[in-house]
């Protein structure tokens, strides 16, 4: 299972332009990628369902899905512990259409049927004297499938939507395979009740809000610097992890004085689910 290794810090909203300029210059990325993503948190209310019940049907399907290995990893993980997962869909084009129209627009058919990502983020590893304090790491699984298919698989596995928000991100990449993400959230959506996981045939498409009229959750952005360490081959994983730590350490040192990467309590990123939804 791949491991995400990352640094985090906070960028006040007033400093966003400066931060973006610095990241432009530092990564020499042209042009910057600006995205809006709808993020839905899904969980299983029925805690007796373990693993991925549809795994056997996926394994016996012909042709086998490209994401079978990821489904198998997820099955192993969810057999031991329940987690909150996220379903992510890129709504950038629809968001731009909503801004141009000056009002919410229904999600386009292209987006509706386009690729979705089911993401599992594990509870981050505990602090380790061999890992720099500002570096966090956690296992991560991304399953990519067309929207309707993924939603059906999740529904068949007992998942339902807990809540949803919109994420706005800027992305830069550097030659060291590091991704820099400036990120903030909007959770005050026009419809406070999340749409069901699987869209009914007579149900209208999800409404993409006019982002120019939305207020972000917080007066600051978060900056991630992340590397994804491949799990294969397993015998050299420690070496690859140490190398990723080194790359992030180099970034932290080179950006010293510009960004001050923070040490957070890993419990703030706890995705383990015990069956209780907050009111």
């Amino acid at each position: 299972m791949p491991v995400e290794v990352f640094l985090i810090t906070v960028v006040p909203a007033a400093d966003t332009t400066k931060a973006r300029s610095v990241l432009h210059g530092y990564t020499e990325t042209r042009p910057v990628t600006h995205r809006f993503t709808r993020v839905r948190h899904v969980r299983r209310l029925d805690q007796s369902i373990r693993g991925i019940p549809i795994l056997r049907s996926l394994q016996s399907s012909n042709p086998k899905p490209d994401s079978l290995a990821q489904w198998q990893d997820l099955h192993s993980t969810l057999s031991r512990q329940q987690y909150m997962l996220t379903e992510r869909v890129d709504i950038t084009q629809d968001a731009e259409a909503a801004v141009a129209a000056g009002q919410p627009v229904p999600m386009s058919e292209q987006t509706q049927k386009g690729e979705r990502i089911l993401r599992f983020n594990d509870f981050p590893d505990p602090p380790n004297p061999r890992v720099p304090q500002t570096v966090m790491q956690r296992k991560q699984i991304d399953i990519r499938e067309p929207g309707p298919l993924l939603e059906q698989h999740m529904a068949d596995s007992g998942f339902s939507v807990a809540n949803e928000y919109i994420e706005e991100t800027y992305h830069w990449w550097d030659n060291n395979n590091l991704e820099f993400v400036l990120w903030r959230q909007y959770n005050d959506l026009p419809n406070p009740t999340p749409a069901p996981l699987v869209q009914a045939p007579d149900q209208a498409n999800w409404m993409v809000p006019d982002m120019s009229k939305m207020e972000p959750v917080a007066p600051f952005w978060m900056l991630y610097v992340r590397a994804l360490v491949d799990a294969n081959p397993v015998d050299r994983m420690a070496e690859r992890m140490a190398e990723a730590h080194g790359r992030l350490g180099k970034v932290e040192k080179e950006l010293e004085g510009v960004f001050s990467f923070m040490v957070f309590d890993r419990r703030a990123l706890d995705t383990r689910y015990t069956g209780e939804d907050p009111e």
């Binding site: 810090t9 006040p12 839905r40 996220t86 304090q133 600051f220 978060m222 923070m262 995705t271």
Partner: protein, 278 residues
């Protein structure tokens, strides 16, 4: 041009001063070229230390030149450049005109005017500036006289401004120490109501003097957010970075109480063995 100090009718020490000035200008030109090349080579810019060092070197060079000009102002005012009789004026007229030119080139003249405008906009008195005492574009001599002829003031034309700035800064420091440092709440916090401010303390800051240990905790709690530029985070809504991370992880903002909300924790030194008791 002149082919020796004798034809210049300069005393040996006077010629030496001229040579020293020429060397100083050469050093300044070299330093400027070095900085220019450094900026061109570095992507995006040279390091802050490098830029600071270069600025210090340039300032030092300018100070040296200014001091030299002050000390030899009579000499440099008196010296007039002229071609010697054997200078090939007809074939090298262009070079001759460049060497004899007293007025600044148009581009340089506009730079000087821009700098003066900036100085005036900042409230600096142009009459205190080096070249402005001429009050015209005519220069009698090649040399600049940085001394105020009427008052015979010190060489730094900004002495008065430096004194004003020093006084203002001392007044500000005194005001901060006497008044502001003792204030437990900011103006914005008082306006929104101190009862809404989350200090993390059970007791009121207004009622009793804080113990030093609690003050440190308070600073440690507040300074990390302020250091991150979040001094104005809405305390009433309790927005911390942990809330945002929790939203990304769980989809809601209800961070459990066991999650440490200090955004920046003191970096702990690796725990070693305790020192042996003595």
């Amino acid at each position: 041009m002149a082919d020796g100090k004798d034809s210049l009718r300069l005393a040996p020490d006077e010629f030496k001063q001229l040579e020293v000035l020429r060397n100083r200008f050469h050093q300044l030109t070299h330093s400027l070229n070095s900085l220019f090349n450094d900026i061109q080579r570095s992507q995006p810019l040279p390091s802050q230390e490098s830029l600071t060092a270069s600025a210090a070197i340039l300032q030092k060079s300018l100070e040296t030149i200014q001091k030299l000009a002050d000390e030899n102002s009579d000499l440099f005012q008196r010296i007039v450049v002229h071609p010697s009789t054997n200078f090939p004026g007809r074939t090298q007229e262009h070079i001759l005109l460049q060497l004899l030119r007293k007025k600044l080139e148009p581009e340089v003249e506009s730079w000087v005017e821009d700098a003066r405008s900036v100085a005036r906009a900042s409230g600096l008195d142009p009459s205190k500036l080096a070249s402005a005492q001429q009050r015209s574009n005519d220069y009698d001599d090649d040399d600049d006289d940085y001394r105020d002829e009427e008052e015979d003031a010190p060489s730094d034309p900004f002495n008065e401004q430096w004194a004003d700035m020093f006084q203002v800064s001392m007044d500000s420091i005194r005001d901060y120490l006497m008044n502001q440092a003792n204030e437990p709440y900011t103006i914005a916090e008082r306006e929104m109501g101190i009862e809404n401010v989350r200090t993390g303390l059970k007791r009121s800051l207004e009622e009793e003097d804080s113990e030093e240990e609690d003050e440190d905790e308070d600073e440690d709690e507040d300074r990390p957010l302020a250091a991150a530029g979040l001094g104005n985070v809405n305390a009433a809504n309790l927005f911390h970075p942990e809330h945002v991370l929790w939203l990304a992880s769980r989809g809601n903002m209800k961070v459990p109480k066991n999650v440490d909300l200090e955004a920046i924790r003191k970096r702990e030194k690796p725990r070693g063995r305790p020192a042996p008791a003595q």
